[in-house]
Symmetry: C2
DNA sequence: ACAGTATTTATCCAACGAGTTAATTTCGCC
DNA sequence: GGCGAAATTAACTCGTTGGATAAATACTGT
């Protein structure tokens, strides 16, 4: 969901300053072309734009740093609309947070690890996590913001609590299979493993700014990112299988994963 | 540096409401006991209290969420003092950030890994990192805040950039020794390893609030923390040595580390 | 004991930011 | 073709907040 696109859409939907009506957009091309219209109704679209703008704003500035007016402008809306369609700043934030969790849970469900052999399944899991974080940097920021607030909002949210991640069970199953097949040495706690896998990607990406300064190199350069993914996969697989780090050369492990596997 | 203590110190230093002067405190017990004094000079103490209060405030509320007035109150000072002793809100923040980096670097230097055998050295490193983060939760929060700002302040700070962490070199040396002795299988990139070790602790602790909600259990309970440390050490050592996860039972690895090794 | 400076207090204020109120416009429906 | 509800805009309120100013008080050297 690209905010720039959404704004362009709105902007060109009704050419506010001129009379020109070039609305070639999908959905609601009005058949009666009234002139002099100042605005056009679009509740769902408005709500979407508002939430998208709010997500960006909360992600880049945190809860306290976010500005309601800025969200309105970014959404191409009037500030009153935020209150009309969603609620006050806190409601806005909670809605964004819930949507973020829903989104990642949905993508997680699309990943089937069941029929992969255990090492490949773990590798795919790491690859997915890494790429999801990479593609959704706001999610990282929102998570952190919520932790600053000691999960105050999350606790209130029945919605998020009902969204169980399928990963813990999946990892548990993969680990059991791995142990049975002899691929893995020990049955690690799936929660610990899940946290560790998330941690390896999360920390690198969410702290890439300060780490880049400290180490004096750009950790978000293509090369650096490739190396990181490689390192993480090797680290975890070496630990689980008891085989050497070196055994896991890139191609066989990383080849079948990649971005194509992700849901749109 | 305990803010409550500092405040108590100040509060009892001059008993403002009564005449009673029970100043048993170190440093500057005034020999001429003037009566009716309204306040006492203490520039260094004031500065310390301000910075400590600011650290707490920035850590719990982020940069934008921090309130200058609240810092003043917490420091037992007048707001004007912040500007007098440190500078505006941004200066305050940068000073706090720099102090935080200085502190961890100082403790890092106190850790000598050179004469430990490689696996023990790595275990101690993990233990140190874990416990440092546990003892200094504000550091985690500050790091995140700074990353939200895309390291804007850090880049400006010549001080922090000059504070090289000794860990990258140390880890490099340990890894080389380990490879030479046959303990380790492959010479991993020390930067990657450093980041991974920090990541495993950082993510767990800084996101413990949301993770606890998601998993429905208290990740900061004593038991859970012990398990986490155990898991991290096993994970990394198994990966490096190529031996099984199970080989590393708790006692031998964790015994010689513990809190006593840390600098005050 | 006195002058001059360092430190601290007591107010003030202009800008900002969240949230509201009321007026205006669109649109489905009869 | 017009009525009423839904959607949107414009303008305003009012507490908060970072920062500034000036006055008061403690300390230092002489």
């Amino acid at each position: 969901m690209d905010i720039a696109f959404l704004n362009r859409a709105r902007a060109c939907y009704i050419e506010r300053s001129g009379d020109l009506r070039t609305s070639t957009l999908a959905k609601a091309v009005p058949n009666k072309a009234k002139r002099n219209q100042k605005w056009q109704r679009d509740p769902e679209g408005m709500r979407l734009r508002i939430l998208e703008a709010a997500k960006q704003e909360f992600a880049t500035h945190g809860l306290a740093g976010a500005r309601v007016d800025r969200i309105a402008v970014k959404a191409g809306a009037n500030k009153r609309m935020l209150y009309y369609h969603v609620g006050n700043k806190d409601d806005l934030y909670l809605t964004v947070l819930e949507a973020a969790y829903e989104k990642i849970r949905a993508e997680e469900r699309g990943l089937d690890l069941e029929h992969l052999d255990p090492p490949k399944a773990i590798a795919r899991l790491i690859d997915f996590t890494w790429n999801y974080f990479l593609r959704n940097p706001e999610f990282l920021a929102l998570l952190h913001t919520e932790n600053l607030a000691r999960a105050r909002h999350l606790k209130r949210s029945t919605k998020v609590k009902s969204l169980h991640s399928p990963f813990v069970e999946l990892i548990g199953a993969v680990v059991r299979r791995g142990v049975a097949s002899g691929d893995f040495q020990v049955a690690v706690d799936p929660v610990q493993l899940y946290i560790s896998i998330a941690a390896l990607s999360f920390f690198y990406l969410s702290n890439s700014a300060t780490l880049s300064v400290i180490f004096g190199r750009d950790l978000l350069a293509k090369r650096a990112k490739d190396e990181r993914l490689d390192h993480m996969v090797r680290l975890v697989l070496a630990a689980l299988t008891g085989k050497s780090f070196a055994v896991f050369d890139r191609q066989p492990v990383l080849e079948p994963l990649a971005t194509a596997t992700h849901i749109a």
